[in-house]
Amino acid sequence: MTEFVTGGNSPHINTLRNIILKWAPLFVLASLVLLFPIFEWLEDFWRGKDHFYLIDSRFFSIRNASRIAVAATPGLMIAIGVTFIIIMGSIDLSMEGTVSVSAVIFAFVFIALGGTLAGWAWLAIPIALVVGGIMGFINGFIHVMFRVPSFMVSLAMGFVGTGFALVLTGGDRIRVEDELFRSLLTVRWLNFPIMCYVAMLALLVAWFIQSRTTIGRNFYAVGGGEELAIASGLNVSRVRIMGFTLAGIFFALGALMAVGRIGIAETATGNNFMFISITAVVVGGTALWGGIGGVLNTLVGVLIVNVINNGMVVIGLPNWLQDGVLGVLVITAVVLSTNRKTISFVK
């Protein structure tokens, strides 16, 4: 957890505020995990049923933990991708289109090459990752070469991706029914499906890139102060393009997880991931103007979002309240993480 404020650009690194900021996401997550069982306890209490807090909780159980983990996996991959971009102080909104295109191309290639991981169809996995990488590269290239703001380029590329996926599928769904591929979901080690371990591995790789490689440190350099980075002789354009490409690859990984989870690739595979991933990154404590945060923050953020989604249904609150609560959380997180003394104006 020492990596939480890696490369932070605040001069007062150990002030109380910074300590709170560093641990707030984890604190929120822990509180939520302990909060939902209270509602369950209350409900059973009113009904006059015996209920020992936490022990009898349906929410606070290993089975439910694995459900939350499964629900979180695709979102985690996508949020990790966008974390790199947000650390650089840019934004990538192309995830929905990139996920749909990668998912659909993966499914087409997978079926065309025999439809089972035991044969040549495994090639579909690297191909999908390359497709994601290409989409990301185009984002970064246009952003840097034509000096178009990243949110505009990526939003537009997202629409292009969704449209392209629709053209490819003609609105149809493609079922991926290979037992071996679906074992991502159906086979469990220690109560958790394989896809959760794959996601942990990907998180480890992302953490390694972020903290143990030059490119990872360069992301922080660009986000922490671009002028300074340029003055130090850093090729910022190259760093940005590499960042967007890396994000695209993680989006494609998210697409694979999404297909693994429901066994269907379609244009709608990417739906809703924009809101979930950006929310997760911000709630996890990565600052929108760059330089602060990291993939471990994102893990906590993704878990917060999914614990809320799951917990709301478990305690029987109406669905529309979930979006509202998440919205309030996003604003709270941004307000908390904004150091108003160092920012002169907001546009």
């Binding site: 349906r58 929410f59 459900r67 159906t186 429901i262 478990v314």
Partner: protein
């Protein structure tokens, strides 16, 4: 320059009609109610233009509707291209403007099938057609106070679907399958959508006859597979083995539910709605207990056919009973027993319909609440 001349002639003609109609509208609106048919002569046309006005073709549902319209035109021995397409792209204003333009162009010699995009737009469209002497049949959208029989022959028919009845039927199939006791959950569409409301009501109606079954929970899943998957996971945590059946608002939701159940190794009967090809396959495999098919192909063809056959005088709409003027579209239930037969008959080969059997597959007169 003849086209300009024609256009001016058409314009003057339609303006004259319009003036006549408005003059009549002021003086004789009450009289119309008493004497029935419109005073503009119920002209019968030899070869009216046939048009379909709809949202667009990229939506699979509307694509089916329009392909039915084309099949009907072909059954008349004409080419597909004979059908005029008015595409409103979801704009009521464009829908009305296009209809008026086509009325002017065809001098009212028009058989129009239309979904007016929203209910309030149906009245101006129908009135424009009636005033110009064209024949119009509507699908889906109209207000409850607008009735074909108030316009004599020119407003031929209206067809819609009520999802409440069919959703109640699938619910009954589900409730029978779980032995009439236990708990069920419902995963709905976008909460404010009319079909989503009707489909949940259908389940509630069926539950009245099964006092031992509890509706554990009903949450919107926004017609979305992934959302449905997550909501179902929440339901499984909250209710676990109390869930003995799942009622889904459509097929797409059903796919997400099936995968959530599969991840838990649970085997619980589910019913869905819409009759998508993939859902039909799952019904055949016994993974879905039942789904409902509303046959948009037939709906699109028969709506055009009704307008056309009224326009050429093959039947006189005003002599038909009310249940032939406003009626529900067909619903076909698909269960494991007949899924393969259904697939062969409806999905792999589109059946050749008798487009003069106007009301055979329909489902009774529309009832208002």
């Amino acid at each position: 320059m003849s086209f300009i001349k024609k256009f001016i002639e058409a314009e003057t003609f339609s303006r004259r009609n319009f003036l006549l109609a408005s003059a009549y509208g002021i003086s004789g609106a009450a009289a119309m109610r008493m004497f029935g048919p419109s005073p503009i002569m119920a002209a019968e046309y030899n070869d009216p233009t046939i048009a379909w006005s709809y949202r667009n073709r990229t939506n699979p549902y509307w694509n089916e509707i329009v392909s039915g319209g084309e099949a009907f035109v072909e059954s008349l021995g004409k080419s597909k291209g004979f059908l005029t397409h008015l595409i409103n792209e979801g704009s009521s204003e464009k829908s009305l403007a296009d209809v008026k333009a086509l009325l002017a162009k065809t001098n009212g010699e028009l058989a129009l099938a239309i979904d007016t995009n929203d209910a309030p737009n149906a009245r101006p469209v129908v009135e424009a057609c009636v005033d110009a002497g064209a024949y119009v049949s509507t699908l889906w959208n109209k207000t409850d106070d607008l009735h074909p029989w108030d316009f004599g022959d020119h407003y031929v028919s209206h067809m819609s679907w009520s999802d409440e009845g069919p959703a109640e039927q699938t619910a009954r199939i589900l409730l029978e399958a779980i032995g009439g006791k236990g708990g069920v959950v419902h995963l709905g569409g976008i909460a404010s959508n009319n079909p989503a409301i009707e489909r949940l009501n259908g389940l509630k109606n069926a539950l009245k006859d099964y006092p031992d079954v509890e509706l554990l929970d009903a949450q919107p899943a926004d017609w979305d597979t992934q959302k449905a998957n997550q909501v179902m996971q929440g339901f499984i945590t909250r209710y676990g083995d109390e869930i003995s059946g799942v009622h889904c608002a459509n097929d797409t939701i059903g796919y997400g539910v099936l995968e959530a159940l599969r991840a838990e190794g649970m085997d619980v009967p589910i019913v869905t709605y819409d009759g998508n090809p993939q859902a039909v396959d799952l019904v055949a495999e016994g993974k879905i207990l039942a789904t409902v098919f509303t046959n948009p192909h037939w709906g699109g063809g028969i709506t055009a056919s009704l307008a056309y056959h009224a326009a050429v005088g093959h039947f006189k709409p005003s002599e038909e009973p009310h249940e032939h003027r406003e009626f529900y579209g067909p619903t076909i239930f698909i269960t494991p027993d007949d899924a393969l037969e259904f697939k062969a008959n409806y999905l792999e080969n589109v059946p050749t319909y008798d487009w003069t059997d106007f009301w055979g597959p329909s489902n009774g007169q529309i009832m208002y609440k």
